[in-house]
Amino acid sequence: MVEVNEELIKRLERLSLIKLTPEERERMIREVKAVLDFFDKINSLDLSNVEPLFHPLAESRSREDSPITGLSQEEALLNAPRKENGFIVGPRIYSGDQS
């Protein structure tokens, strides 16, 4: 089983793009442990005769390839906090060394 420690929580912070205080980190260690313990309980059941079920529905709907008009540009941008020339403004991407 994975060891739940500060290092793991910090890695999860990086993957989730959030920052926790040391107190929150302590709490997370306890809560993630509890979640994993619960899964351990499930794992203790013998389910070797049961097919894993990934979806409650066996078959997907599919769609014909015919276009429908969606939102206008104005509607699409209604919730964007920052916009410019019809684009949504996002943060800079590259922060590596610029050699």
């Binding site: 990934f54 599919s62 969606g70």
Partner: protein, 471 residues
Amino acid sequence: MAKIGLEVHVHITSLKTKLFCSCPSHYAGKEPNSVVCPVCLGLPGAIPVPNKKAIEEAIKVSLALNMQISDKVVFVRKHYFYPDMAKNYQISQYDGPGTTPVAKNGFIKLRNGKTIRIRRINIEEDPAKIVYPTGSLLTSKYVWVDYNRSGIGMLEIVTEPDIEDPKEAREFLEKLRSILEHLGTCDCTIEGSMRVDVNVSVPGGERVEVKNIGSIKGVEEALKYEIARQEALISQGLPVKRETRHWDDVRKVTLPSRYKEEETDYRYFPDPDLPPTTITENWIKSIASSLPELPDARIRRFMVQYGLSEYDATVLVMDKGLADFYEDVLKIYYKPKEVANLLINDYLRWINEMNIRPSESKAKPEYIASLLKMMEEGVITIKIVKEILSDVVKGSDPRKLVEERGLTALRDQEFLMEVIKQVFAQEPDAVEKARRDPKVVNYLVGQVMRRTGKRADPYLVNQLVRKMLEG
């Protein structure tokens, strides 16, 4: 020797709608963020529904690439944070617990018989397009995001690392492109419709990934650069570390990306919004029975039907637009070898010089037919054919060009003799030499051709010059 694997992303341009919503998939020239809906904007609660035709296109390509096709289509979420993906995951496919790519284990054969294995094909959605308003990827202070491209249906075609040099990579991609164009799945002339990530390593070094190369030529250049860079490090005793780099198409260099390798964890899991779609044997059979003629079969047909060499047939068919054009010319002027020679040796050179694809040429099949017809009838010389071909590629009618510029062949013996006499008078030394050395005769002929603006019939001039020398 380098070890190269490719990940090719192609837009399924034959689709009219996006992969998981009914938004139109043709967004070229549209206002940014004007071809979108809650699904492709990634708004909370929007439910994706797969496009049946997209799955059919994936099966078509899988059949053409000799793949083993899965009995179901399963989609997964691939998580990452980047402004091009509003819901923080891309819907893709994965080979893992409960999930499988649409097809595995295929191959493409190269000209020399070598097999390049294809590991898998994934169906996936394209992210949004990022624009850098204040510089480049490297320097822009912020970015603009356009979701028109978000959700466009794509295929990711991944090879095994069977490719050994940049030229092989180029040939593989040209053949793949030709197959996709023959299937009608991807019109690769559309900008951005084919993008490639390459994985490349040299002996003694780690594997380096170069992401997001926009053209086949770019792949060849990026690989050449990257192999040289890695070999230089190793020859200096320095390590080649495992990393992800980007191709800068302006400066023609690869540059390191910001993410550390250990942090790449996409946390794949089956998308609960998308239950599996079953692929039945009958579905595959009906698609297989409707496949069009593919490049390998077309090359063989060109050899049998038109008597072309394997090399010539391959050059024509490796570009579907060129092969179609060739057959269109033959419908008007049925001289298969003459037409093939002109297209491969001369026409293609101008196309390459103009940096366009053959399908973007303005020449009509009638133009090539009339060029060759005028030459056959002796109206113009081969030199004139070659000379005006560049204008024909730009859309000029060769009959008009010949008329306007007075390019008809000169066969008036009396006139030609006058020119030859002038040349003899001005080149007494050459005339002396030509009497002993037949090679110098060609020089004299060349002088006559120059004075007649290449319009003289070179065969006739040659005869007349020899007669003069003897007489």
